[in-house]
Subunit: 571 residues, 2 copies
């Protein structure tokens, strides 16, 4: 049973999202499962908010919608019930896909408990149109969960943007609906909490200088923030830094943005730990506008903060993919970083805005210095030691799970630039040694930072180092198991070690012997730094032993210490 | 059995295509099915033409390749044998797809007779990586057919271009190989007929004015030709015409380019019929360079001519899709028509080049005028009558099969602009009435040109005209069956009428009655033109009866007459 009000809210969200993205025409092939959407569209048509056509033959309906979209170059919504109705849309969808016509194909579906179980009029509608749509989205079942409502709104808007971005084409949204299907009538489209529109600067690929000037005017006089996500190629660092310095905007630089280590007071690397403190000074650091680019940043605390803030956020995304899991993008700029920062004039700087951010970062860095003389190398200390010990231009590969998180929080180089890489597309701990050795085959001075589980998972990868005499210095943080799980709620459970901790009790040293690697175990900071300052050669494995339980405490203490320092020194 | 030399040639083509597109590194996971490629790569490595890494664990191999591609931002070739070997690549492919890393994944496969039949180490490798690659290509079995060799070369080059176009990502090529797998050694990579490289102007989205000037310098002083394919949106006609007039370049304007009817001496609409004559004057009309844009043009004779010519051909294609079935593109310009024609300075015109084309077109148009007084409306005459009778800015939808071909050949408006549409993505005769009615719901003055089979196929579509009181004037060319098949070799066969001609013997008039349409049957030209000049209202069906056999003859005679005229008048 779906609550009628919940259903009504969901349908209102979907239709409002379509209206926001400029849908002016809908073609409906009637049926039962699509009931609430059909009633919503009929009401919108009566209220002159869109034009609705009804066609009992789904094949004709789809070609009719295609005819409109084709000749007006505007997206058209195409709606049907579950089952073969959706299959009748297929010929027109194939045509739309081949000739780049924007169709928003919304099929309704039975709920999960009625699919693949012999229920009537229920097919498997997952990826129903195969390769013939630009994208398929499964929408969630109606729910009162605010995150889910927000997701539905974001995905529906995004689907229209994707259908109308070059090359245009059909997109498929599949919506499972559970009975009862009657919504509460009439819908309140206007009075409903209308969601934020995702604006798009242009659907074309290039802008005029007047467009750029207009953009600058819009952001002038505001406290702005730049968020630089992961980016491996073509980062126009000089244009970006010049722009940010002129505008006086801080750049929150993800460790994979290839921006940390540039000597500029705009580069803020300490934001992850700063946001983790949840200190009251964050109120003063709240921006009025954000410009974002690159992939998904590492910092979860930054994601949470953005979701809380909900300030106008421009996303530079030449591919119009809108892979923004914070769902905070309000304006999509289909431009590369170079297009934007080389062509858009920087606004005039607001006094004291950047300096507040710099001050907070300075305090964090100083507090680190004061904690660093400790002798035993801890996981949180390691990034700080790397900052000191790595030669400039080192190629540093970082494993997923804890290492990249620790690098994000604690690796804050001021003027020493290194190249940082991590497999952040799918964030797996598989294949890390192999990827790092791929890197090693191309460059001098290569380092890998990895935990023991990821190390053993891809041990086979070491064959390549031996066979091709590659140079790689592997720092294995050995806490004998999955350290990240100790931060999660299950840590106290009886079976924790069996199914989460999973200690392998294997010898890193034996592995080193097998693959003819030089092996060292390091305990204190001084030895670690000294070891890293030696010239690299061949395959080296440096083992650092840590303790999982102590590590959690250490991380928590560090945040508390920094919070304390901020309170003492910020004002 | 595959002939050893045929196999050797195929492998040489594939590896040369990869080298041409800048592949510098390959990672091989060894096996049997990949034998000839492995030997080819090993030889190239010995000759220092690329760097080869061999890794026995396919999962490691794929992550190793990813590491190289990720840190150098260059495409890497990844090769394996058939079966689970390919499945081991999957984790790294998923990572590459999520983080936009260019990998060329080449899996070898059993030939068709050994798949899905229980043969060892044979899986169904079709779309093996599902949604996790940018594109999947099945390469053909080795063959001496020159068209197939050319296709293999084109697809392999195209796959690298696609992997390295924004957003970058992995592509999958699956190559079935039949035993024996030993090629003739050594390969002759250098002395082999190295195929034409598909160049790409830039992998970035924008060019500087210096880039454009360099481009102009390259094409200056040459006899150039512009080929405008189908395009529904955003055609920058004014910039294009200004450019072409300054450069003195003819524009071969597809009927769906939305350019026919512009009053410019650069617009050449009569090329299809001109090329069909194969007249010796075509030697004088041979270009030295071609600039192409838009979708696949209608004219098959133009496609054949381009394949014969093989002159440098620039394709404006902002999406880098390279959907060019003539496979003649030599340079990909990742720019929109507006980007190019508004920013690239036109070269200086070559005297007499454009005038030769204009002269040929004039002769064709005059020869039409002299044949037009005939009274009975024929299929070839119909486009010419439309040219005279249609009001300016009419929205004309055209069915696939014969109508769009006849429009292409014979619809040559000089100064009267109409909007022309046809479902040319997949070229189906399904859904044509519905698509035209979709158009009619948006505009005044709508006409549909359609044959009887396509008319009956989408008869259900007429419901929408009645229900929403749409205006559409449908011209049904009724030759009681599939007229296009009469042009094909099977025309004389015993069962021709049963399986190709397929006369339906249904009454168009009865259909008109069912859907409350005004119905007229037209026989002579004067009546036809007069009928079309009446103001349109509601649904009208105009039936024109033609004869399939007579139609073939008429088409052939027309070409001969025009050829004759060209001989008499061109010199």
């Amino acid at each position: 049973m779906t609550n009628t009000q919940t259903l009504t809210n969901q349908i209102t969200t979907i239709l409002n999202a379509l209206l926001l993205q400029g849908i002016q025409t809908a073609v409906l092939a009637p049926g039962s499962r699509s009931t609430p959407l059909a009633l919503g569209l009929a009401q919108l048509a009566r209220e002159n908010k869109l034009k609705l056509y009804v066609d009992i033959d789904e094949r004709s309906a789809a070609f009719f919608a295609l005819g409109i979209a084709k000749t007006t170059a505007r997206p058209v919504l195409l709606l049907c019930t579950s089952g073969t109705a959706a299959a009748n849309f297929y010929p027109a969808i194939c045509e739309a896909n081949s000739s780049h016509i924007p169709l928003i194909v919304l099929t309704t579906d039975r709920p999960p408990e009625l699919t693949k179980i012999g229920a009537p009029q229920a097919l498997d509608q997952d990826h129903f149109y195969g390769q013939q749509v630009k994208q398929f989205w499964q929408l969630p079942l109606a729910s009162d969960d605010p995150a889910e409502c927000h997701y539905t709104n974001f995905i529906v808007q995004r689907s229209v943007i994707q259908a109308t971005s070059l090359p245009c084409g059909p997109v498929h949204l599949n919506l499972p609906l559970r009975k009862p299907l009657m919504p509460r009538l009439p819908f309140s489209f206007a009075t409903n909490n209308i969601p934020q529109k995702i604006d798009r600067l242009t659907s074309k690929s290039s802008l005029t200088s007047a467009d750029f000037t207009a953009l600058t005017t819009k952001i002038a006089g505001k406290r702005g923030l730049i968020i630089a996500g992961p980016s491996e190629i073509d980062m126009p660092a000089n244009s970006l830094l010049r722009w940010a310095e002129n505008a006086g905007w801080p750049i929150l630089a993800d460790p994979l943005s290839q921006l940390r280590g540039y000597d500029s007071n705009c580069i803020i690397s300490a934001y992850d730990i700063l946001l983790k403190t949840k200190h009251s000074i964050l109120k003063m650091l709240k921006p009025e506008i954000i410009i974002r680019f690159g992939g998904t940043f590492v910092s979860a605390s930054l994601a949470s903060w953005l979701k809380e803030l909900r300030v106008p956020t421009y996303y530079l995304d030449p591919n119009c993919e809108l892979n923004d899991y914070t769902e905070t993008t309000t304006k999509l700029l289909p431009l590369s970083e170079a297009d934007f920062f080389e062509n858009c004039p920087a606004p005039v700087a607001q006094p004291s805005w950047l300096s507040q951010w710099s001050k907070a970062q300075e305090i964090i860095k100083r507090s680190w210095d004061s904690t660093s003389p400790q002798k035993v190398v801890s996981e949180a200390l390691l990034p700080h030691l790397l900052e000191r010990a790595l030669a400039p231009n080192t190629h540093l590969f970082i494993s997923n799970s804890m290492p990249i998180r620790d690098i994000d929080s604690y690796y804050l180089p001021q003027t020493k630039f290194c190249y940082l890489y991590c497999n952040r597309g799918a964030n797996g701990i598989d294949g890390v040694i192999s990827s790092a050795l791929g890197m090693s085959s191309q460059f001098q001075n290569n380092v890998l930072l990895i935990g023991d589980l990821a190390f053993f998972h891809d041990m086979n990868g070491l064959m390549m180092a031996y066979r091709y005499a590659l140079q790689l210095r592997i720092i294995v943080i050995n806490n004998n198991g999955g350290g990240i799980f100790s931060f999660l709620p299950q840590v106290g459970s009886t079976d924790f070690e069996t199914v989460f901790g999973t200690p392998q009790n294997l010898s890193i040293k034996q592995t080193a012997l097998l693959y003819h690697a030089e092996y060292t175990r390091i305990q204190n900071s001084a030895d670690f730094v000294k070891k890293l300052q030696h010239s690299p050669h061949g395959l080296e494995i440096i083992e650092v032993i840590t303790d999982r339980a102590a590590n959690v405490e250490q991380h928590q203490n560090t945040v508390q210490q920094i919070k304390q320092k901020l309170s003492e020194e910020f004002y």
